[in-house]
Point group: C2
Chain length 484, copies 2
Amino acid sequence: MARLLQPVCWRLFPWRGYCSQRTQGELSKGFVEALKAVVGSSRVSTTAIVRDQHGHDESVHRCKPPDAVVWPQNAEQVSRLAALCYGHGLPIIPFGTGTGLEGGVCAVQGGVCINLTMMDRILELNPEDFSVVVEPGVTHRALNTHLRASGLWFPVDPGADASLCGMAATRASGTNAVRYGTMRDNVLNLEVVLPDGRLLHTAGQGRHFRKSAAGYNLTGLFVGSEGTLGLITAATLRLHPTPEATVVATCAFPTVQAAVDSTVHILQAAVPVARIEFLDDVMMDACNKYSKLNYSVAPTLFFEFHGTKEALAEQVQRAEEITQNNGAFHFSWAKEAEERRQLWAARHNAWYSALALRPGSKGYSTDVCVPISRLPEILVQAKEDLKASGITGAIVGHVGDGNFHCILLVDPEDPEELHRVKVFAEQLGRRALALHGTCTGEHGIGLGKRHLLQEEVGAVGVQTMRQLKAVLDPKGLMNPGKVL
Amino acid sequence: MARLLQPVCWRLFPWRGYCSQRTQGELSKGFVEALKAVVGSSRVSTTAIVRDQHGHDESVHRCKPPDAVVWPQNAEQVSRLAALCYGHGLPIIPFGTGTGLEGGVCAVQGGVCINLTMMDRILELNPEDFSVVVEPGVTHRALNTHLRASGLWFPVDPGADASLCGMAATRASGTNAVRYGTMRDNVLNLEVVLPDGRLLHTAGQGRHFRKSAAGYNLTGLFVGSEGTLGLITAATLRLHPTPEATVVATCAFPTVQAAVDSTVHILQAAVPVARIEFLDDVMMDACNKYSKLNYSVAPTLFFEFHGTKEALAEQVQRAEEITQNNGAFHFSWAKEAEERRQLWAARHNAWYSALALRPGSKGYSTDVCVPISRLPEILVQAKEDLKASGITGAIVGHVGDGNFHCILLVDPEDPEELHRVKVFAEQLGRRALALHGTCTGEHGIGLGKRHLLQEEVGAVGVQTMRQLKAVLDPKGLMNPGKVL
């Protein structure tokens, strides 16, 4: 009830930070009825269990749940919901699959969680133009299943079966980015509901051209904005031809340096590798145990090559020569489909394999990205820091992009250990910054890295981002407390 | 003198459009002395001839020259110049090579033109990280000459030997974009002097990572902002390995449809073509006459393939098969370096070849870009419209991106013909918009397409762009009158 009085207060004192005055509590009955009038009464929930489910993602970040969860079915409903919240000065938190890793869906100031998973239609497929339009509930696996007969696919694959618009919101990437780019490179247009309910098409309604020089790149601004500028209600994505053939290989190395040197030489030789993933000895041991495999427990690269059969043979031969010149133990092809599947399943299960090293633990994943020449240095430092801090951590990374993750195991009930993990992650973030890198390659800033963002982009960078936030979300209602 | 009083007026009436009150005139002696105090007296000019040289680009757009031209030598000087202009409420127009095509350097409201060509150092080359940092006066050819021994190159090539930061400012692309992307894809970081003189590093100072999810994508916002948000004083660019070998080929077709169908099939077959350029019959005829060649006067594709020798043979064979299946007349390789050079020289001279069709004429180039499946339709329409309007026009395009140019010949002294050209260009722009395309693939909005931009991105899109402009350039001093 108190909350419904606040908009009046806001209108009277527009220069006062409205959100900072808010305290979490129950929504008024009238407001909940207004939500129900938009989406139907079965699609609004204020029960504790539903709110709790929507108050966290897959990370260790925990905070307050939203005050209500709603499931709109189309952009028009999202627009009306936004306008309603805007009128009442209530925060909005967009929710997709909840598979984020930086607390992006935590309802720091309560408010209304807009769960977009019921909007899961593939709206338009243009095979000749290599593009598709999806609603926010479509996941990347669902899209690729739909595309199976078209000869096209969408390559961005962050591991979890995340929603494509959620991936756009966090500028996700994953294992194929070295060849196919990240969400930044593969989003052509976005439909966005702005905080006050207006509908924006970042590249113009219905447009799906490959390139443009028409005005400010609004698409690029909303990709990676983590729900803090608006709600993405549709995305136009760039598709790629399905590779004619695929070869997968693994290669173990005596040192981290040898693995990274091989990566640099492969990229310099313009071998169009589709995936080049690094796993350290701890990670390989965890994968062997979890997936019942028998790889060498040593720094290892997993490769995938895409192309015609003839082109593949040449790519693999070049990669093999380069790894051997860098002292690789052996280079092993997975020629059969089953063997390939097993190998990538092991890579995709890295998170669970690491967690299984210490049953009952929770995971926290770091996400730094550095210029590739600085990778050996920071990987060696990270392993030393892990040892010194007594934390169990396994390393896996998209080495072709300079991006890697330490999966840190932590007892969530042990505040001292949680603190050590936090100290380690911050130290690693600062090491990356010192090496001209970034604190986050693909997971986003969310709750946990706001102070590192300031160090990364500097005072003027943060001021500029704050100006953009203030002008596009003047009441500070869109996913408050994130990024900035 | 009057102008120096205006900032006071602005401070008193901040809600009034300051710039709209300004009238062009001479700068006060004191202000010119202040400019000289920053850059040295030999690096400031207010002579008519120098101002005139800086009042236009290569297009038919003509308007007022700036009131003064200054040549700073480093970012610190640019910052001081910006602060000076900001304090006096004077417009700033960044100037690179002046090779733009949409009037981007016209001094609509007078002001100070900042010529950045004396800042032409390559500041940092990181070959292992595939990145380089350049000052704004470095052109793409100068960079590639510098890179020759490194095994790396920068592929974005808009035809003219434009400055790299100017290319970033207009989101340029060119013939290699189908494989290597545009400036949007190849700028990793920018150093920008903001309107009030503050220095922004869009991805953080000194950073040159491949990908990031850290906060709003400021780099993407400034790429393509056409100098309306700040002055780019350095760019960190992504480099690519020099191809081991190159093959060039041409292929003539009975129809435009057959040429475009071949393009779509080649892209669907994932042949990693580096360049795929379309020239219509008029353009081929012009090239034959200008470059003394003997190609068929028919719709033609120019190809370039990059790769290892083995991979190239396969790429060319596939492309040849696809073009033959689409009824191509013949597919002709240019195997020798000299033949290759001659062929691309003919393509790069397309502009001058077209102008030579009618000596004494000026050229205006359209720049629409559509989803590739709509290309045959719009190309046929464009040719019919050309015939109906009686304008001489030759068509050349980056067909793999759906982007093409009609080079329209016009007598600049004939207002009726200028009007017909304008009507044709607008009609073509609207045809592209109706086919889900954009009015500009790579030349930018500048002066001439502001009304088309509104139709393209819609009311909310333009409102959003205006909000961004207003918050980042509150006095409206950065390259006023452009884009919005």
